[in-house]
């Protein structure tokens, strides 16, 4: 009886929805984007009118020492390190550049749709470390999780805007995945090797850059206009800068993190620290 009832109700609801959707769509006709056309779309940016932004992410003050990693139980990985490996929490180059900072255009590109790159980027697990430690991808773009160690790693991602996942790689192998939604930042960990962590910045445009130890960041080929650029660091949180792009010119980027910023909010789909729930890192809306 219930079955029949549900069937009847289901049919009624579906009919109703079909009618509503079908009629509404035709009748309203207010779709602005009129998108839905797949295939390799061209960049909406005219290279002839574009400008650039580049500059430095620097660190001032005394950088904290990164925690040493004990890999003594993991011969394969220990053999890949000539010196005692450490965490990559705060990596400062000789010239004062701060590495592993994700620099990206936060505001100013909302009206543009960018094609999804077909080339995958690689996140390698090598010597029981993620290389690179911070990675940027576009929404929908494949990234390749690669195990170069040939011992068991698992890749456990805990995003909040996207769906998390947890895959195992017990041998040398590769797995491709992608995130459909922009998110700053997605943390990845390996539960087998508790010290292994990485962050993926997911944005819906190609204007992002991850700094190396020289601290340089570069955003090439931006259409003229005003933008908010944000620099994200896993410990020190974010800094933002307003820039104006003029055709053919290069706007200067300059971010300076310092040791006193460690209490900053770090935008992250980061787990709540059960010990210190008040320290829950939240997105720093401005």
């Amino acid at each position: 009886m219930i079955d029949r009832f549900w069937k009847a109700r289901g049919v009624a609801v579906i009919t109703a929805l079909l009618l509503a959707v079908g009629c509404g769509g035709e009748g309203g006709g207010s779709d602005a984007s009129g998108g839905g056309d797949s295939g390799p779309a061209a960049s909406p940016v005219d290279a002839a009118t574009a400008g650039h932004a580049s500059g430095m992410v620097t660190f001032s003050g005394m950088a904290p020492a990164n925690a040493e990693i004990d890999m003594s139980t993991e011969d394969v990985c220990a053999a890949k390190h000539s010196m005692t490996p450490t965490q990559e929490t705060v990596v400062v180059g000789d010239g004062g550049g701060l590495a592993n900072v994700f620099v990206y255009v936060k505001e100013g590109l909302e009206s543009l749709d960018f094609p999804t790159p077909t080339q995958a980027v690689v996140l390698d697990q090598d010597g029981c470390e993620y290389t690179p430690h911070v990675l940027g991808v576009q929404t929908g773009q494949d990234y390749t999780l690669k195990n170069s160690d040939g011992i068991l790693h698992n890749i456990n991602a805990s995003p909040t805007e996207n769906r998390g996942f947890n895959v195992s790689q017990p041998v040398v192998m590769e797995t491709n995945r992608s995130f459909p939604t922009a998110e700053i930042m997605v943390p990845l960990i390996c539960n087998v090797h508790g010290w292994m962590n990485a962050y993926i910045g997911v944005v819906d445009h190609p204007y992002f850059s991850v700094t190396g130890p020289d601290g340089s960041a570069s955003l090439q080929g931006l259409p003229p206009g005003d933008y908010v650029v944000e620099a994200w660091h896993e410990l020190y949180g974010t800094l933002t800068q307003n820039i104006t792009i003029v055709t053919g010119e290069t706007a200067e980027l300059s971010f300076e993190f310092n040791a006193d910023m460690s209490a900053a909010h770090v935008p992250l789909g980061d787990p709540i620290d059960p010990m210190h729930p008040e320290s829950h890192r939240t997105v720093d809306h401005q």
Binding site: I2, F5, W6, A8, R9, A12, V13, T15, A16, L17, L18, L19, A20, V21, G22, C23, G24, G25, E26, G27, G28, T73, I151, L152, N154, I155, N156, A157, S158, T160, R163, G164, F165, N166, V167, S168, Q169, P170, V171, M173, E174, T175, N191, V192, H193, G194, P271, I272, D273, P274, M275
Partner: protein
């Protein structure tokens, strides 16, 4: 997505369409399910732990580890979908129905109606916007392979090659080298599953359920999916089934039943075993005694690590040997587990519990007995007695050389007996994530406050266990209710010799009677192989004699029945069974003799 309709629709028509559509829904009578308010049910039954906002921070959540699910993350362990995918409605319903073993989540199948539980499924989905998208796609699962020895052996190889042991340990007891560092996606410490107790598996302990978890992973925990390595051809689907069979084979074939009595067989040739590895233990069936967190006396403990202990016992008439085994990944205090223990302590307390604040506690086991037996079923309070009825506790700690005998008048009040009155010894072994503690004590120590362990009588016995590296100490551990220890009766030789003798005698006597009857019936005994002297007796004497024989048989039947009862009671079911058969035969013979005598000594026979 837009669906083209075969008739023209403009804005005016659209309104009409909508009206028709709405009336189509309205025509459907209000359903029973619609009357069930999932939100109200949630507040009533779920919010206490999961919080009204679904974040898993209900008022009771602070006492729980693992914490209640945060529904706003839409991360579900038990699914039939790929890692990173949402669960199906049926997946959510399964957990509501069956609960999550190894956590505080109970099953609701017997508490709420199907409609109520379905309404809850719908309500849980409102906590995350992820459920507003397309329905998740179920993975396709192949059919189970047969759990042959070959399949299990191939699974064992896969267990090694895909390195399950890194977390679960070589014997599957959750003692792998990565185990102390594990945490769930919300940052809480989490144990690698003890694969030797499949009744505690998240998502179920059957081969099919284990395979499913290998395919889907347990999202939100460190347990990853192994689908990718099948897709990549690293192992075959058949090998993954083999792994499921192997994991299943690490647990007992049947979930252990809770039995009240631990029987100690009596050893007649020699003395009780003095080591945990003695082969005598292989012949002794282990009895499972479940433990639960001590939640009566503050500080309470809602996160017990030891879910149960296996108990075996033997005695030799002079001494009792009690072997207790349980899973514990570490020999506490183990420095590699110190962080884990500290985090558990900080998460679970102190609150109003006044919990201990430092890690580094040892593992402990307490076996407790009353100090004297009462005639009835009266037993001391199960938490180490009280002032009126104290208990005699045998305490073993991983940081002390030997067991300590104490008298306790309530939890935490144990007072060790003086040096001269310590009669319990303990031999221990910690290997592959398992403790084995062997207690030995004389049945009669002569001590004034020591219970004389009587043979042939059930003695109350209870257990308590602590895992120091899980932050357990003091009152914060796992406890059992009272069970019984039964020292089996010594078995006299006559028990084994008497039944065959009686059987043979019964047969011979029966033959004799039959022969006598045949001889009488055939006249002067022509052709009879066995000639028996013929007595001429009067009917009255014959009747008396026959009835006497019958009564004698019944008497012997009664004696046999008594032997049968003794046999059963002493745990010798084989003896009990055969004595029962003999008693039945004798009873039939006795009744037969009496009825036969009665018929054949009727007065009308006189005329013949």
């Amino acid at each position: 997505m837009r669906i083209a309709l075969p008739w023209p629709c403009d804005a005016r028509v659209a309104a009409a369409c909508l009206a028709v559509a709405l009336s189509a829904v309205a025509l459907v009578p209000t359903s029973v399910a619609a009357q069930v308010d999932g939100g109200a049910l949630y507040v009533k039954w779920c919010a206490g732990c999961h919080g009204e906002d679904g974040t898993g921070n209900g008022v009771a959540a602070n006492t729980m580890l693992p914490r209640p699910r945060d529904f706003t993350l839409a991360l579900y362990q038990v699914r039939t979908t790929a890692t990173g995918e949402l669960p199906t409605d049926a997946d959510i319903l399964k957990v509501i129905d069956e609960g999550m073993p190894g956590s505080t989540m109970p099953g609701w199948e017997d508490v709420l109606t199907q409609q109520e539980r379905l309404a809850l499924v719908d309500h849980l989905k409102t906590f995350s916007r992820f459920f507003q998208g397309d329905a998740p796609e179920q993975l396709e699962f192949s059919s189970a392979t047969r759990g042959t020895d070959e399949a299990i052996a191939s699974g064992q190889e896969v267990y090694q090659s895909v390195e399950c042991w890194r977390c679960h340990g070589q014997q599957g007891r959750g003692d792998g080298e990565s185990a102390p560092t594990l945490e769930d996606d919300t940052g809480f410490p989490i144990f690698a599953a003890d694969l030797t107790e499949n009744w505690t598996f998240n998502g179920g302990g059957t081969v099919e359920e284990i395979y499913r978890v290998l395919r889907t992973g347990l999202d939100g925990t460190p347990m990853p999916t192994f689908s990718d390595i099948v897709d990549a051809g690293v192992i075959t689907d058949e090998q993954l089934w083999g792994l499921a069979h192997y994991v299943r084979s690490l647990s007992p074939e049947e979930t252990p039943e809770v039995r009240e009595v631990v029987s100690a067989r009596r050893i007649t040739d020699g003395t009780v075993p003095e080591t945990v590895g003695d082969e005598a233990w292989e012949a002794v069936e282990p009895i499972y005694v479940p433990l639960v967190g001590q939640i009566v006396v503050k500080p309470r403990w809602f996160n017990p690590r030891v879910g149960g202990v296996w108990v075996q016992a033997l005695h030799d008439g002079q001494e009792l040997a009690l072997l207790v085994s349980w899973t514990d990944p570490s020999l506490s205090p183990d420095p590699t587990w110190a962080d884990f223990a500290q985090r558990v302590i900080e998460i679970m307390g102190p609150g109003d519990e006044g919990a201990a604040t430092a890690a580094g506690a040892p593992d402990q086991l307490v076996v407790q007995f009353p100090i004297a037996l009462s005639d009835g079923m009266e037993r001391p309070y199960f938490l180490q007695g009280d002032a009126r009825r104290p208990t005699n506790t045998w305490t073993w700690r991983s940081d002390a050389p030997d067991a300590v005998e104490s008298i306790a008048r309530g939890l935490g009040t144990a007072v060790p007996q003086p040096d001269g009155e310590q009669h319990v010894t303990a031999v221990v072994q910690h290997a592959e994530g398992e403790w084995k503690v062997l207690f030995r004590r004389s049945l009669d120590t002569g001590g004034a406050e020591d219970l004389v362990l009587p043979v042939g009588q059930a003695v109350p016995m209870a257990f308590q266990a602590w895992d120091g590296d899980n932050g357990e100490s003091g009152n914060q551990g796992a406890v059992s209710t009272w069970y019984f220890l039964f020292l089996e009766q010594p078995t006299p030789v006559s028990v084994y010799v008497a039944p065959p003798i009686v059987l043979v005698l019964t047969l011979l006597f029966g033959l004799l009677v039959v022969r006598q009857a045949q001889w009488e019936a055939s006249g002067a005994g022509a052709g009879a192989a066995l000639r028996l002297p013929r007595f001429r007796l009067t009917k009255a004497v014959e009747r008396a004699f026959g009835m006497g024989v019958g009564l004698a048989w019944l008497g012997m039947a009664a004696a046999a029945y008594r032997s049968a009862s003794l046999g059963w009671a002493a745990g010798h079911s084989d003896l009990g069974f055969w004595w029962t058969v003999i008693a039945a035969l004798m009873a039939i013979a006795g009744l037969g003799a009496m009825i036969g005598t009665f018929i054949h000594t009727q007065p009308r026979d006189e005329g013949r």
